[in-house]
Symmetry: C3
Subunit: 204 residues, 3 copies
């Protein structure tokens, strides 16, 4: 079950990467790389940070084929994608929750301190998107807009809390996915944002 | 003693990260991330490069709390910070020296060749700031202005030289911090710069 | 023989890094860093991804000296370099092939799956240039123009195919270098490009 959600998640992330590459008029190689980095880059950063070798996708060639296919297929169906906007945002939210939970689980298994476990969940959830934006030469959208990272933080804390309370795994998953996806969709729908810090003073 | 200076250093770096995030009008999540990356990113890059696992801050949750607090507090006091400019620059210089010395010490303990030890010191000193600038979508300031990296290089070489000469640890530290901070403050005061390489030729 | 080609490769890459730094009017420290990252960054990313510690250049200080010297010397001879454009492009192509073959060889020795071996070759070949462009604050040229990454992919597949067919090592090398460099030079000469994916639709 978790595996299926994970496969949906990396597919959705690969598609978002491909669209970002298209906005920069990249060639299809660029599309493939950005799709790969967006989908599997977050897990890579997490594994490198935790010293969790070998890195996940190097043991699962099928993940690589999936994200490359998803990225390249996106170039063919891109013109119809705005019609599926709601579905796409839903899958993306599903992916965010799945990545966050997986990141927490891996750091827990390695017995890292609790704050590192939360950072591991958030790294998995958002750093693929950060790398996508850096490679597309823009300020990462996750630092500026909407509640995306906050959803990841919320899910990580909720997950750890329920684990600590001894709630069963199935219920924990159900609650994390239910609340996480709902939170994300509401945040998009009502344009919830975090307060912005604007500092324009010059020192010279 | 070294620990206190290190804590001052990560606090100063986190504040500089938060101000950079504010210049890009990031939300408070973005501020927290940039503060974290600026303060702890240099050490992370060093540890990943040297294969020095587990990475420092993952074993010291208190460092994470300090840099996040410093970053978020900065959003509240930012409007008064230009009055403390001299103090801030002084703490930043102190941090640069501390990071450089720590980076050298760690690579020395792992018995890397001398040029790698120096690179390790400089990676610790400057790559946090480089990542801050990349995430804020600008050419890293350290590649263009002032003697910042040069101070790090100078401190690393001085530190290794004194160690090689068999000078006691306390005196070595005193000299490194004294000369390093003085060098940095003089460089700022008198606008010392390295020669610039400008290459505008087109090949096509 | 392979070592000599490798040294030529990192020299050519360091020079391309230095020129990119000059286009951004960096100081000589920035030139040295960009030269270093362009020449040795690809191998670093590969080794970190594969968990192949210690990282190559940390055991070969002479590589570091070579790339730093090449980078700094470039600032002196830059004005004459356009006259040597053809030679420079040829060395760069040689470097691309060498990096790709080395990347494949290392991942093969670590017994990674075949798709990871190819990614390892391409990471070694192109990620130095990607990091150069990110640090110079531009969209990586390899995602947008010319057949550069495609040459790397072609060489990796050719190399693995010949190895799988049991062709002797010398012949394999000769064919990889011959075909790879020819492919690259023809791609430049005739402006071969991959199809571009342009996606300018707004969803809001």
């Amino acid at each position: 079950m978790m595996l299926i959600i994970y496969l949906i998640a990396i597919t959705a992330e690969a598609m978002s990467g491909a669209l970002a590459a298209g906005r920069r008029r990249m060639d299809i190689f660029g599309v493939a790389v950005i799709a790969f980095v967006t989908a599997l880059g977050g897990g890579t950063i997490r594994d490198v940070t935790l010293g969790n070798y070998p890195i996940g996708w190097t043991q699962h060639p099928e993940y690589v084929y999936i994200v490359l296919s998803a990225g390249l297929l996106t170039t063919l169906v891109a013109r119809y994608m705005h019609r599926l906007k709601q579905l796409f945002l839903m899958l993306d939210a599903l992916g965010l929750v799945a990545f966050s939970v997986i990141g927490c689980t891996i750091a827990l298994a390695l017995e890292y301190p609790i704050v590192v476990v939360i950072i591991s969940g958030m790294l998995t959830g958002i750093s693929g998107g950060v790398m996508r934006d850096v490679l597309c030469n823009q300020v990462p959208v996750v630092f500026r807009r909407e509640l995306y990272a906050s959803v990841s933080l919320f899910v990580c804390v909720l997950f750890l809390l329920m684990k600590w309370l001894g709630v069963g795994e199935n219920i924990t998953m159900l609650v994390c996915f239910g609340c996480g996806v709902a939170f994300r969709m509401l945040a998009i729908r009502f344009h919830w944002r975090l307060p912005v810090f604007s500092y324009q003073q010059r020192w010279e």
